[in-house]
Every structure is written in C-alpha cells, then in structure tokens.
C-alpha cells in the first residue's frame, strides 16, 4: 500500500514539474511577442553563446569529423567504394551527427552557464529585486537568452558541419582519395533537402536548451547547493532532451516530408 502511495505521489510530482515547465515556456513565448526588448542583454548573450562556444565547437567538430571519416573510409575501402566517402560524410554529418554533436557541446556550456547565473540571481534576491523595481524577468532575462541561442546555435552547427566535412577530406587524402573525388561527392549530396533536415534541429535544440536552463535557474532554491543541483539537472535534461528531440525530428521529417 505504501509502495503504491509512493508511486502515486512520485507521479503527481512529475506531472507538477512538467506542468510548471509548460507554463514557464508559455510565459516565455508570450513575453517574446511584446515589448520592451533588451538589445544590450541580447547582444551580450549572443556574444557569450556564439563567440564563447566557438573554440569548443571547432575542436570537437574537427576531431569527431576525422574520427567518423576514419571509420567510414576503412569500411568503404573494403567494399571498393572509397570514392563514396564525401557522400557518406555529408549524410552522416549534415543530416545527423553535426547538429547533435554541436547541440550537446553547446548545451553543456550554455545550460550550466545560464542556470548557474540565474540560480545565483535567485538566491541573492536579484530576481525578486527585478520584479520589485518594475521589471519583468521573463522579458529581461529569458527572451534575450532564447533569442541569442536561436541565432548562435544554427551558426555554430554550420561551422561545426563544415569543419567535420573538411576534416573528412583530410582523412580521405591520407587514404589516397583524391580531393576532387571527395568534394564532388560532398557537393553532389549537399542538397537543399539534406541541409534543411539538419538545420531544422538546431532551432529546436536552441529553444529547448535556453528554456530549460532559464527554468531551472528561476526555480533554483537552497543557496549554493541548490544552484549546483539545478545546474546539474539543467545539463542532464538538455543533453537527454537533445537526443530525444533528434529522434523525434528525424522521424517527423521522414514521415511528414518523406526526406
């Protein structure tokens, strides 16, 4: 009996948490479409997201692209289809791996940064002070962060994809695959359809990362320990959320658009 009660209680709490997130996200969406807008805050967040994440995206994309190319080129060489490396790299990187990899790297950095900052503001009463002095924290803090990531993440995905594909070209060279052969495969399969399939995802990921990070920061409680817990939750939810959203996006694109 106690076990059933505990399960029911746990389910009730989970429903409450999901309901709280949905209401928070709804409030953020509503705040997006009405002034005032905070341009300076937006630019500062854009700098933090785009310039701040550039190095880790560049390094991880270049390394992951080469690792993927090494696996592919060896298998393709065994079947005599080494010239198809460019084709396989575009499909793997642009449609699937690139957005997820860049999304995960940016999520770990941005989720932690945003949640820790807003959590610290919550525990030092700065969020209450914003409200007390007539500001709306949704407009001042959440909207600029969501908007900044909506611009930064697709740009970073493009940069990451390009580096991974170029990295694949270097691996092809090491395996005696001519540059022209590799890039003709790349260009042949770099179609608007394939690019769009990959570029829908970063927009979905950006909204999710920023909204979840802000939500956990706003709901942070219990001082430094509470901020730590919220930050961990934020990174975990965003990372798992990216994998789930990737699966959902891929299925929807196949099912609805047939791409």
């Amino acid at each position: 009996m106690n076990l059933i009660a505990a399960i029911v209680e746990r389910l009730r709490r989970m429903v409450e948490v999901v309901q709280d997130f949905v209401l928070f996200a709804w409030e953020a969406i509503r705040a997006t479409f009405t002034p005032p807008y905070y341009g300076r805050e937006f630019l500062s967040q854009l700098h933090f997201a785009l310039v701040g994440s550039l190095l880790i995206v560049v390094v991880s994309a270049a390394v992951a692209g080469q690792a993927l190319a090494i696996q592919l080129v060896r298998e393709l060489a065994n079947t005599g289809a080494k010239s198809q490396l460019g084709h396989f790299m575009v499909i793997s990187v642009v449609r699937a791996l690139g957005p997820v990899l860049t999304g995960m790297v940016v999520a770990s950095r941005m989720s932690a940064g945003i949640t820790a900052e807003l959590g610290a503001m919550r525990s030092s009463d700065q969020l209450d002070a914003l409200i007390a002095f007539g500001s709306n924290p949704m407009k001042r803090l959440v909207v600029p962060r969501v908007a900044a990531l909506l611009i930064a993440l697709p740009v970073l995905v493009i940069i990451g994809d390009a580096l991974a594909v170029v990295g694949g070209g270097f691996v092809g060279l090491q395996y005696h695959l001519p540059v022209e052969s590799y890039y003709s495969g790349v260009l042949k399969y770099l179609t608007p359809k394939n690019v769009m399939v990959g570029m829908i995802k970063p927009f979905v990921f950006a909204v999710m990362i920023a909204t979840v990070a802000c939500w956990r920061g706003f709901r942070s409680a219990g001082g430094a320990k509470g901020v730590g817990v919220s930050t961990t939750e934020s990174v975990v939810i965003s990372s798992v959320g990216i994998l789930v959203a990737d699966g959902v996006c891929t299925r929807l694109v196949f099912r609805i658009l047939g791409w």
Binding site: D125, A129, I131, A132, F133, G134, S135, N136
Partner: protein
C-alpha cells in the same frame, strides 16, 4: 497607508502567516520584530506582490493589491522602494546603473539628467558620487547596503519604503551607520516605511510603531513604549537578553506623525 487585514499565507500547506492584521499609518515607520522563521520577510514579499496570500486583504493607499493583475501590480510597485536583505544589487551592472535601474526601466530620462539623479542619491546616502562607475563587488558590505537604499529612493520617488533586515551581516559600525541613515531618511522624508529586523536596538531606534511576529502570528502591535511595558510572556522572553538596550532606546522613542509624543519609559 499600508493595511494588512486577516492575511493568511502558506507554502505547500505549511502555514507561514496566520490571521495577520495591522496598519502602518501614513508617514510612519513600523518595525516588524520576531525570531528567525516567524514570517517577517514574508510580509514584505506579500506587500510587493512577490507572493499572493491565501486569504485576507493587503491594502496600499486603500487599493487592495491581493487580487490585482500583474500589470497593475507593476504600477503599484513603482510607488514602493525596497531594500533587500544583503542589498540584492544587480552584480552585472555598475553602481550607477543599479541606482538608476527603475528610471531606466520606466522613463526615457536623458543621460545627463540620469547621472545627476544618481549622483545626488549617492550623496543622499552618504556615498562618494564618484563611485558611480564601480561594480557592486568592488564595494564593502556597508557601501553596498547604502547603494541599495539609494536605488530604493531613486525608484520614481516612492512614497513607501521597505527594509528587509538592512543591517544583517554588517560589522557593528557599518550597521550603526545604516540605522542612522534610515532614521535620518525617516525624519527628513516622512515616507511610510516598514523595517523588518531581529536587531532589538535598531528596532527601537527606528520605530514609530512596532509589530511582533511569532510562528506566523502577530503577538503584538503598538508603540515602542507599549512593547517595553507589555506582559506578553513570549515578548518578555524575546526581549530579555536586550532589556538594557530596550530601556536605553525607549528614552528616545519617536512619535507616530500626527500623534502626541509618547512618554519615555521610566
């Protein structure tokens, strides 16, 4: 005027405030005393609309704020200046931006006028106006608290001031300077104010009227002299360690504006 009428407030079913009723007359300073966890800071949060009561009414200048829309509440908050515990300065902004926050948020005041306003408010709280470009973490705790008071005063010239434990965590000298500043502002500006504290000496120094909370219930409301004379067992126990300070402080209690000056404790 501020009025709490039969206010109940709970969090997750746990009662925080129960049947709270008290008034703060126009121009008076009421100090809310009580042990930690008695619901003192919650009364200020309710007054700012940061939380909504389960029952009862909270009136500011005869307007019931408990059922107000958030949009209307934002307008009411412009008449209220709040000094948070630990200051709660925005640490990504300079001292000047903190003090001018409310003006920047609501008004299109020219930069030169804004700077003049910030400088005059810094001077008003006894700070060097040249601190305007410093960041909050470059200031001492006492200076941060002064900036917080300047920010509250600059907020569109509020007619209500709220102080949430303004001297907590400060060294005795800084704490005394902050208390003296609050007394000076009270006498000079005659704004309706509520100060929450658990510092008995500060409370008697600042208060025109006093309210004491214990476990979410109001156990006393009256003048400082009444408080010093009360036979309420909880209050006697609460004040016992500070009896000397109470006796000293009641020699210089101040009257509620518009009422006869109370007799000092003999």
């Amino acid at each position: 005027m501020i009025s709490f009428q039969h206010v109940d407030y709970s969090i997750d079913g746990r009662p925080i405030l129960r049947d709270i009723t008290f008034d703060v007359p126009q121009g008076a300073t009421t100090v809310i005393l009580g042990p930690s966890g008695s619901g003192k800071s919650t009364t200020l949060r309710l007054l700012l609309g940061l939380a909504r009561p389960d029952a009862g009414e909270i009136r500011i200048d005869n307007e019931d704020i408990t059922r107000m829309s958030e949009k209307r509440l934002r307008q009411v908050r412009q008449r209220v200046g709040m000094v948070f515990q630990q200051g709660a300065l925005f640490d990504s902004m300079t001292v000047g931006e903190n003090v001018a926050f409310s003006l920047i948020e609501h008004d299109s005041v020219p930069d030169e006028e804004l700077e003049g306003t910030v400088r005059s408010h810094l001077q008003l709280v006894g700070l060097d106006p040249d601190l305007i470009d410093r960041m909050p973490d470059q200031l001492s705790g006492g200076m941060q608290r002064r900036v917080a008071i300047a920010r509250a005063l600059a907020a569109r010239n509020p007619n209500i001031l709220l102080y949430d434990e303004p001297t907590t965590g400060l060294d005795p000298q800084s704490a005394e300077r902050i208390t003296d500043l609050i007394v000076e502002l009270r006498d000079r500006m005659k704004k309706t104010s509520i100060m929450v504290t658990h510092d008995i000496a500060d409370a008697f120094k600042v208060a025109n009227t006093m309210a004491v909370l214990n476990e979410g219930r109001l156990v006393f409301e009256g003048t400082p002299s009444d408080l010093a004379h009360t036979n309420e067992p909880f209050i006697n126990e609460f004040l016992a360690p500070f009896r000397k300070a109470v006796l000293a402080a009641t020699q210089r209690v101040v009257a509620v504006p518009g009422t006869p000056r109370p007799t000092a404790l003999q």
